[in-house]
């Protein structure tokens, strides 16, 4: 398909602007003016619409395909939440920051505040900031608060501990805050090796970052012990909320002993992923960390009105422009309001049921590196198929041709030939069965005719792409300009 730039015809007008109702002003001096207008596409509105409409059709998406990506919670995004967020589109965030401005933004502030309160109840934490703009941003914000906490207490801390099954963002976020990383391997039982953890757990550890259930879909039975051990060294325990969809109403990280948590609203709370974002990563903390929350904070006055609190001497400061990805927050709050208590519990029950169902129906053909009952996702390994030369990525391409988005196959790094499946609670049994059938077909084909996988996928606009060439040539911008 042509690029929009390749369809451009110099001089062709696009959407027209209102005519100016003011006199033209004296122009900028030459050195302040750009020499030439940016070479943006010049296409008719029809050609623009056709281009992006056709382009969109070159994507798989939740609305068109089952999308069982592990660790990503690709659930259905209710259309009503879009409508809900639209109600808040016209409001300028700076108005809230003007003198007495908060009284002109009571609806927006109420929404952000009530979302925070709902999240504290869901996670068992004491306070929430909605400012972080994504999960990793939340992690960084959380670890910054950990650092501020230790600084305030005069603790000398150097390390952050993560299991080797953790998301890459965990060590990366800790590194952004200046910590060195200690990685603890996973034991045969599929969770962080407790013995090895004890060995590394010293007074120099600032925080331990855990995902629970972890990226193998397993709930760590030693989780409280780990929290206690960390606390013994005045290390704080961080809960990576990526897998929160497994335990809504069942477990609250705050109850278990976690001190900080981020929540991915775009995973657990049903907001669309948009091809990679925007997400929203609110962070919840226990009491001891409240002074360090980023500002300005939204607070509720005794009279029920909402206000901004900016005088926060111990705050880590802003980590983003305003109050978070507000539009995403509005959608997530709409989701919570619609589901309510019972609905949210059912989310996790159904998600766990679906994952176990898929696991039970595929475990005869695919290796389960850690066989046990899983939570909301299950991780297989294609090692058996790989013996015939059919790798997890090949099975992924087979699935694409059958209309299923592949599970996660590059992660977790500790499982060879990983196939990480998170079906989510919104998919019907009929869809799961269809997926299972195709996965079984793939396993059978891998036995019967492994060479058949080499040329897959065949039904997509492009076949397998040369990633080496892309990395070598670094062609990331069209043409010369």
């Amino acid at each position: 398909m042509q690029l929009i730039y390749e369809q451009s015809i110099p001089g062709r007008p696009g959407v027209s602007l209102p005519a100016s109702d003011v006199p033209p002003a004296a122009g900028l001096s030459a050195e302040l003016r750009r020499a030439e207008a940016a070479v943006l596409p010049e296409v008719s509105e029809l050609d623009l619409v056709r281009h992006f409409t056709l382009l969109s059709r070159r994507n798989f998406s939740v609305d068109t395909n089952f999308y069982p990506l592990g660790s990503c919670t690709m659930k259905y995004n209710a259309k009503a939440i879009e409508e809900a967020a639209r109600a808040f589109v016209p409001y300028h965030p700076m108005v809230a920051l003007l003198p007495h401005g908060a009284s002109y933004c009571q609806g927006s502030l109420a929404l952000a505040y009530e979302l925070g309160r709902t999240l504290t109840e869901i996670t068992g934490m004491d306070e929430v900031t909605t400012q972080p703009l994504a999960g990793a941003h939340g992690e960084m914000t959380g670890i910054m608060m950990v650092a501020a906490y230790h600084r305030a207490k005069g603790n000398k801390k150097r390390y952050v501990v993560v299991p080797d099954s953790s998301h890459g963002t965990n060590p990366a976020s800790a590194a952004m805050v200046g910590y060195e990383i200690i990685t603890v391997p996973t034991a045969a039982y599929g969770d962080m090796d407790l013995e090895r953890f004890r060995e590394v757990m010293t007074d120099e550890v600032a925080a331990v970052m855990m995902t629970c259930p972890n990226t193998l879909g397993l709930f760590n039975p030693h989780i409280r012990e780990i929290c206690d051990l960390a606390h013994d060294h005045d290390a704080l325990v961080y809960y990576d909320g990526a897998n929160l969809n497994a335990i809504l109403g069942k477990v609250r990280p705050g109850d278990v002993g976690f001190d900080v948590i981020h929540v991915n609203l775009h995973k657990t709370f049903g907001t669309p992923h948009g091809g990679g974002g925007p997400g929203s990563g609110p962070v919840g903390v226990k009491k001891e960390l409240i002074p360090f929350l980023p500002g300005p904070r939204i607070v509720r006055n005794d009279d029920g009105s909402y206000a901004l609190e900016s005088a926060l001497p111990e705050s880590i400061g802003r980590t983003a422009g305003f109050f978070g990805n507000f539009g995403v927050m509005a959608k997530a709050y709409a989701y919570m309001v619609m589901l309510g208590r019972a609905g949210l519990i059912q989310v996790s029950e159904q998600a766990v049921l679906s994952a176990n169902y898929v696991m039970s129906r595929l475990k005869d053909l695919y290796e389960l590196p850690y066989e046990t009952s899983c939570m909301h996702e299950c991780v297989f390994s294609a090692v058996r198929q790989a013996k015939n030369g059919v790798h997890a990525i090949d099975i992924a391409k087979f699935l694409i041709d059958r209309g299923f988005h592949p599970p996660t196959v590059y992660f977790p790094l500790i499982v060879k030939e990983a196939i990480m499946i998170e079906p989510t609670e919104t998919e019907s049994k009929e869809t799961l069965d269809a997926f299972i059938a195709v996965m079984r077909e793939a396993a059978e084909l891998a036995e019967r005719d492994p060479a058949a996988f080499a040329t897959l996928p065949q039904s997509m606009p492009v076949s397998r792409l040369d990633e080496t060439k892309a990395a070598r040539e670094q062609n990331v911008c069209f043409g010369s300009w």
């Binding site: 002003a25 800790a174 925007p278």
Partner: protein
């Protein structure tokens, strides 16, 4: 399904979680239908002041958005897709983001761009970190005329690192980079400036670029993308890295988010760019296609050695930006910038004629400008809010010695009538 799994109830599946770990509370309201929820939300939104006429900016701008932007971005295949890790079934997102990167390069006059960061402030912080990586130095100089929120974000990002951040107080009214240039020495990784700056002033940073380059450091320019329809690009100014907030490119105000952060740089720094980058390549049959490239910089591969921790970015907002730019096109975008410029000039002159009001910017401005009032600006703004107009950003909270100053923003959406009314209202407020 329970049978297939071999359990008798869903509770069995949660048995791995010991009773002592179970939730102590889950006290949430009952659910409701979408209709009741929507009514609730509409009532909530109605508690915001309706129809404020707004002359505030401060990093977020009230611009027109062509209807096609919503329409096309709303395509389910864009909207409900994930990060394009499987390129064969994600060419829609990948090609669109490649086109986006191209637009950002062309806007900024730089060679390479990524597929978006979170917002303008975090993009500036990422640029600061990037400059540190590129140069291996530990000192940064930042202009006090950079948006105070963005400066605060940079401070927050750097707080735990062994880095010195030197903030140069701004010299309002006399846009002179002398103090910035004086701060340059061989230890400075980068100078961070904003153009147009927080006061609305447009500057020529070529000399600053030459001097920081001579000292082996980089110039980072934070830019307001709509200005790039008219103002010399960061590339033309000699910038090594450009960043900015993409909100004004087709993203609604939405009480502050989501928008996107843009970042572009000279080609040689591509491996130090944070975030996702889309690259062009070919498939087995030689057909053009697009993939995530240089992923070895990223957290899911490089973990704690990654160039940034960013994973989710703001793809859909970047797509809005691309469609916005494509819908206006080359001429339309230049015209948009010109409209913003002309309307702000009209307002600036009108306000400048008011008795006791002084325009503070010495040189050129773009769509915002700073006036000094004969009164405390915060009080004036609070008074005008009650009349339904958001008059601008009073500077006292951000620059304690500028309590009488007000940054006024005028976009293409403000009509002459609205501007004239505002001028009269401000005049009235100053008389009282």
């Amino acid at each position: 399904m329970l049978d297939a799994i071999g359990v008798t109830s869903i509770d069995d599946l949660f048995r791995p979680i010991a009773p002592g770990l179970r939730a102590k509370s889950f006290d949430l309201p009952d659910g409701m239908s979408e209709f009741e929820m929507l009514r609730t939300f509409q009532e909530l939104a109605a508690k915001n002041a309706q129809h404020l006429v707004t002359f505030v900016g401060g990093g977020y701008y009230d611009h027109l958005i062509p209807t096609v932007v919503d329409h096309l971005t709303g395509r389910a295949e864009f909207y409900t897709a994930y990060t394009p890790y499987q390129p064969e079934c994600a060419q829609g997102t990948l090609q669109a983001l490649f086109e986006y990167q191209t637009a950002i390069c062309r806007l900024t006059g730089l060679d390479v761009a990524n597929a978006s960061l979170y917002d303008g402030g975090t993009a500036l912080a990422e640029a600061a970190l990037m400059a540190l990586r590129v140069t291996g130095r530990r000192r940064l100089v930042i202009d006090g005329a950079v948006n105070p929120f963005h400066r605060e974000i940079v401070r927050t990002y750097l707080a735990n690192l062994d880095v010195e951040l030197l903030e140069i107080p701004p010299k309002l009214g006399l846009e002179d980079d002398a103090r910035l240039r004086a701060a340059i020495d061989g230890s400075v990784a980068a100078v961070l400036v904003q153009n147009p700056n927080f006061f609305g002033s447009v500057s020529d940073f070529r000399r600053l670029a030459d001097e920081i380059h001579a000292a082996g450091g980089l110039l980072v320019v934070s830019t307001y993308p709509v200005s790039l329809g008219l103002v010399a690009t960061p590339g033309e100014m000699g910038a090594d890295i450009a960043v900015g907030d993409g909100q004004s490119l087709g993203n609604p105000l939405s009480f502050g988010g989501p928008s996107f952060g843009l970042i572009a740089s000279r080609k040689e720094f591509i491996r130090n760019l944070p975030g996702r980058i889309i690259g062009e390549t070919v498939d087995r049959h030689g057909e053009r296609g697009f993939v995530l490239t240089l992923q070895a910089r990223e957290q899911h591969i490089k973990r704690h050695k990654a160039t940034s921790n960013i994973c989710s970015n703001q793809s859909l907002c970047a797509l809005r930006g691309l469609i916005f730019l494509s819908s206006l096109g080359r001429q339309g975008f230049a015209e948009l910038a010109r409209l913003n410029y002309d309307k702000a000039e009209y307002a600036k002159q009108a306000l400048g004629r008011l008795s006791g009001v002084e325009v503070m910017n010495g040189g050129a401005t773009f769509n915002e400008f700073t006036v000094c009032l004969p009164k405390d600006a915060a009080e004036v703004v609070a008074g005008l809010l009650r009349k339904g107009v958001a008059a601008g950003v009073p500077l006292g909270s951000y620059y304690p010695d500028m309590g009488h100053c007000l940054v006024v923003t005028v976009t293409e959406k403000r009509t002459r009538e609205e501007i004239d009314t505002f001028v009269r209202q401000l005049e009235g407020a100053l008389c009282n």
